[in-house]
């Protein structure tokens, strides 16, 4: 009911045609049409349509509806009977019911967790009034791995000027990050430059202040209520003036900050307060600075002037609000037209084949792009988790299917009687499906209990501090859960329902044993596939855990023990290092611009002075003269860097750099000079250090060329080695000293060991998730096996009794009962072991610094699987073989 306002809703018509008696359809539809046309004369099309639905639903009367073969009364009686028999079956076969319920519930709870995650993500940015018409503009160019969430700065205004389909455009430009100062109080503040149009596109409302004018005049600011509280407590912030000093704090992505020294931007007036806690949005900020403040800052080069820069598209976020009724295709067409014209004569490497595209506001939260505004789980993550959950769910459903088929024999008589008394195949299918749905709904209740256990565990995972899953529960989520449970019931029950309902009554009633209790072929196949999956998960999680341990114990080639890294936060390095170096408990102090092996790298290109050889690409680390010594990096030739001020043209190379630059021995390179590609400097090598790992272990296997150089003005961190005795006391003394040097900024430090291990923390989460899934997979598979074995043992009670009476031993009976299942296990291992070896090798080969993956890991996994499998069947077989044959034979 969208584009044609003057026709009656087609869906309502279809509903009518479906429920109405055939002979009534024509006149009723005619009457309703007439009514609709008449309503249209006086009321809005929407009201008319609503009325049509009202009228249509009022035809849900017995006289008008199609007659079904059996009247609804009999149906409901039958249904009651199905439910009753279903419940009786559940209570009668407690072991099977437990296996089914437990397995389904465990698997469901995992699926429910993922449903909750998705529901959580879908709540983002739902509060905007015009959310269906708001789009973010993405940039893309040749060879980029994924689209950027950012676009050129002037784009917003250019689009608004040239294309009438844009009702409004707005941009958000990061670059505000520093100290807000109000009456001696200093608070960190990060945010965007934003134009007044921000409030016309988005539906953030101001707690205080006027949204129309808040971002109008230069040097005005809208701040978050949290910031307002920090700065002003309970005073009214509106109209207050604060001083702002920018420290280039990283924003919007909040990785460990390396702020530069504060640089005053002057004073700003608070014109509005936003309560961020009210909104779930992909946009989070402490402050919005009016975009009209920017020109004054360009003049003093406090921020780069991009107002006419079409080549840089790495900072600004552009959003457009389309006119009512306009479609995303029209927007994309406009964007194409725009890039064709604008980029025709811009020839730059980064805008080669430059493309702009639109992303609907509601897709942003799940569609993570490069340079995005916050960190969240990308879509592939959901696919991965969904895939794992689906496998577990499938495995649990297979248990149900398997056990139902196996129990067919027990139920054959019931089916026969039902058929003889007139049930047709359809109603039997309906009966078995309703039974499986009852089971899955009961499982849902149990699953809900499990969910209460696993949801907090999931929220407690390390990664969640970046992803911020809240997992709230709402009515709509419950509806989805119930729908999901019904779906699972249908899937799990489909095969048994079709299979059982196909029995021929005469056969099953005449001779029970003549009916085939489900072909063992299918059941074996299902069991085997469960165990193959389990084995695969077990091997994978062992492997990932080994990889994690490998990273944790990795020898980087330098020592990070008892080392803390202190952020300088713009303070003078020499002063701080002298002061902190004198604290008792401190063994040594050095300084660097970045912390090696934690993710940040800077590049440099070198070639020998006076040649025009190709530049050799490497990385550069700016350190003081003490760094190499402090981190226990060996100097294999030459001398360490000289103290700052003497000469900053001296450099150290690592062994790889020596080789890459074409020197045989480390000694040859000492005293050589090199030119840099950027900045035209000439550097002289004074020493060579042993190779050490200075990049993320995940990304780089081989060590690349490295240059060490002493440039104090770029130092951001002090590396302080402390004595192992009472480290916290030393840190407390350091902090006290820091307060005297910089009373404003808090002392910020991290243990180097922690920093290094946190780079692999995500892998540990993967271990936790995979291990959990593997555990569930094997538990469910074993439960299935247990069910089958129990059933076989029950069916063969008499046989066992007779055999025993005739003198069979316990072992031979245990073997007779379990050989079928041992076969299943062995086949599973034969398929699963090579499979998990090959598949795991596929991803492992892509990883740098990988762990040894031999048959040992596969063997360990196989051992775990077989152990659990044998315990499961063994216990039953032994019990059956030990039972007193008299009991078995008496039973009739």
């Amino acid at each position: 009911m969208n584009s044609r306002p003057n026709t009656s809703p087609p869906f309502a018509q279809r509903v009518l045609l479906y429920i109405l008696r055939a002979d009534l359809a024509e006149e009723v539809l005619g009457d309703l049409e007439e009514k609709f046309q008449e309503t249209l004369k006086t009321k809005s099309p929407f009201r008319a349509k609503l009325n049509y639905w009202y009228q249509a639903l009022h035809y849900l009367r017995p006289f008008a509806m199609r007659k079904t073969k059996i009247s609804s009364y009999i149906y409901s009686a039958l249904f009651q009977n199905y439910v009753k028999v279903g419940f009786r079956n559940i209570l009668k076969y407690k072991v099977f019911s437990f296996i089914n319920l437990f397995g389904l519930a465990v698997a469901m709870s995992v699926c429910m967790l993922i449903i909750l995650m998705l529901a959580d993500q879908h709540r983002y940015d739902q509060f905007h009034d015009k959310k269906d018409r708001v789009y973010r503009i993405l940039s893309d160019y040749d060879n980029s791995r994924q689209s950027y969430a950012t676009s050129p700065f002037p784009l917003a205004s250019a689009l608004k000027e040239n294309y009438p389909i844009m009702q409004e455009t707005t941009h958000l430009t990061p670059g505000v990050g520093g100290d807000a100062i109000y009456q001696q109080k200093l608070v960190d503040m990060r945010g965007y430059f934003a134009a007044p149009s921000f409030f016309r596109v988005f539906s953030f409302t101001l707690e205080k202040g006027d949204a129309k004018t808040a971002l109008m005049s230069p040097n005005s600011m809208v701040i978050s209520s949290a910031l307002a509280y920090d700065l002003f407590n309970d005073e009214d912030p509106i109209g207050k003036t604060i001083d702002f000093a920018d420290r280039k704090l990283p924003f919007p992505l909040d990785y460990d900050g390396i702020g530069s020294s504060p640089f005053s931007w002057g004073s700003f007036t608070i014109t509005g307060v936003i309560d961020q806690n009210k909104y779930k949005s992909h946009l989070k900020f402490d402050v919005l600075v009016s975009a009209s403040s920017m020109p004054a800052l360009y003049v003093d080069h406090k921020i780069p002037d991009q107002s006419n820069d079409w080549e840089q598209f790495f900072r600004t976020y552009t959003y457009v609000l389309l006119e009512d009724g306009k479609h995303i295709d029209e927007l994309n067409a406009s964007l194409k037209d725009f890039t064709d014209r604008t980029y025709a004569d811009i020839k730059s490497e980064q805008t080669k084949n430059f493309k702009l595209s639109a992303q609907p506001l509601s897709d942003i939260q799940l569609g993570l792009m490069g340079n995005d505004t916050n960190s969240r789980l990308p879509r592939i993550g959901y696919y991965f988790l969904g895939f794992l959950a689906a496998i577990i769910m499938l495995s649990a459903s297979l248990n149900y299917t398997n056990l139902s088929i196996a129990r067919a024999l027990t139920r054959a008589k019931e089916i026969g009687v039902r058929k003889v008394t007139g049930a047709n195949k359809k109603s039997l299918v309906f009966q078995f499906l309703s039974e499986s749905i009852i089971v899955s709904l009961l499982a849902l209740v149990l699953a809900f209990g499990f969910l209460l256990l696993i949801a907090p565990a999931f929220k407690g995972l390390w990664v969640n501090q970046y992803l911020n899953f809240e997992l709230p529960q709402s009515i709509s989520v419950y509806v989805i859960f119930i729908g999901f449970a019904v779906l699972i019931g249908v899937i799990a029950g489909a095969y048994p329902a079709l299979h059982l309902s196909g029995y021929q009554p005469v056969k099953v009633l005449k001779n029970m044993s003549g009916s085939n209790p489900g072909r063992m072929g299918i059941r074996k196949f299902l069991s085997v596939s469960q165990f193959v999956m389990s084995l695969f998960f077990i091997v994978t999680s062992i492997l990932v855990f080994n990889q994690f341990r490998h990273f944790m114990k990795f020898d980087y080639g330098f020592s990070s023990k008892n080392m803390i890294n202190v952020e300088l936060q713009g303070a003078d390095y020499l002063k701080v290092s002298n002061e902190l170096g004198s604290v008792s408990g401190v063994m040594d102090v050095s300084a660097s611009d970045i912390i090696p092996a934690t993710g940040t790298n800077n590049g440099i290109d070198l070639r020998e002075t006076g040649t025009d050889a190709e530049f050799t690409h490497g990385n550069i680390l700016l350190t003081d003269q003490n760094f190499v010594n402090n981190l226990d990096i060996k100097i294999i030739a030459g001398s360490p860097l000289s103290t700052a001020g003497e000469s900053d043209r001296f450099i150290l190379l690592n062994e790889t750099a020596v080789k890459e630059l074409g020197y045989q021995s480390s000694k040859d390179v000492i005293g050589q000079t090199f030119d840099t590609k950027w900045g035209n400097e000439t550097l002289e090598v004074v020493g060579v250090v042993k190779d050490f790992h200075y990049r993320l272990l995940l990304n780089s296997g081989v060590i690349q060329p490295l240059v060490l150089r002493n440039k104090p003005e770029h130092f951001n961190f002090l590396n302080i080695r402390i004595t192992s005795a009472e480290p916290m006391a030393t840190i407390a003394r350091l902090e006290a000293k820091w307060k005297r040097i910089d009373p404003i900024h808090p002392f910020q430090y991290k243990f180097y060991d922690d920093e290094l291990s946190s780079t692999h923390q995500a892998i540990f989460d993967l271990v936790a998730i995979l291990g959990f899934i593997a555990f569930l997979a094997i538990v469910i598979a074993c439960l299935g096996l247990l069910g089958m074995a129990t059933y076989t043992a029950e069916r063969k009670t008499k046989e066992v009794g007779i055999r025993k009476v005739l003198g069979a031993g316990g072992f031979s009976i245990a073997y007779m009962l379990s050989k079928e299942f041992i076969n299943v296990l062995i086949i599973s291992v034969l398929i699963g072991a090579p499979l998990s070896y090959v598949v795991n090798n596929l991803w492992l080969q892509m990883l740098a610094n990988r762990v040894e993956f031999g048959f040992g890991t596969v063997l360990l996994g196989t051992f775990v699987l077989l152990l659990l499998g044998f315990i499961t069947i063994g216990s039953l077989a032994i019990r059956a073989s030990k039972s007193n044959p008299v009991d078995a034979l008496k039973m009739e």
């Binding site: 539809l29 009457d31 049409e33 007439e34 046309q37 008449e38 849900l60």
Partner: protein, 113 residues
């Protein structure tokens, strides 16, 4: 044995069907009902009553002409049967006789609104 009593709503609908004559089909009757009584009624409710009246033998029906505003669909025209007319008349006579036995009516001091 078929039910032949006439309910209040049924009686009104039957009367309206008689009044509308050639134009007596579900939508028109519902429309007329709304404008005469000021009470809202769904077409479905009227239709079900018509169907019931037909079952009791008070109405008969046949398919009529189609018009453009109905999307070319025909309408079912209901007409009173002789039996229907008789029932209506009996109902009226019965009420009249009741009214005449009501003394306040004769003295014209009727106090019911």
């Amino acid at each position: 044995m078929k039910e032949t009593r006439l309910g209040e709503f049924e009686e009104v609908i039957l009367l309206l069907a008689g009044i509308l004559g050639e134009e007596a089909y579900a939508f028109k009757i519902a429309d007329e009902f709304e404008s005469q009584t000021g009470r809202a009624v769904s077409i479905g409710a009227v239709h079900s009553t018509l169907e019931r009246l037909e079952g009791k033998g008070f109405l008969k029906s046949e398919m009529g002409k189609s018009t453009a505003e109905r999307g070319g669909r025909r309408k079912r025209i209901f007409t009173l049967t002789a039996f229907g007319k008789k029932v209506l008349k009996e109902s009226r006579d019965f009420k009249m006789s009741l009214w005449q036995q009501y003394p306040a009516f004769a003295t014209d001091k009727l106090n019911i609104a």
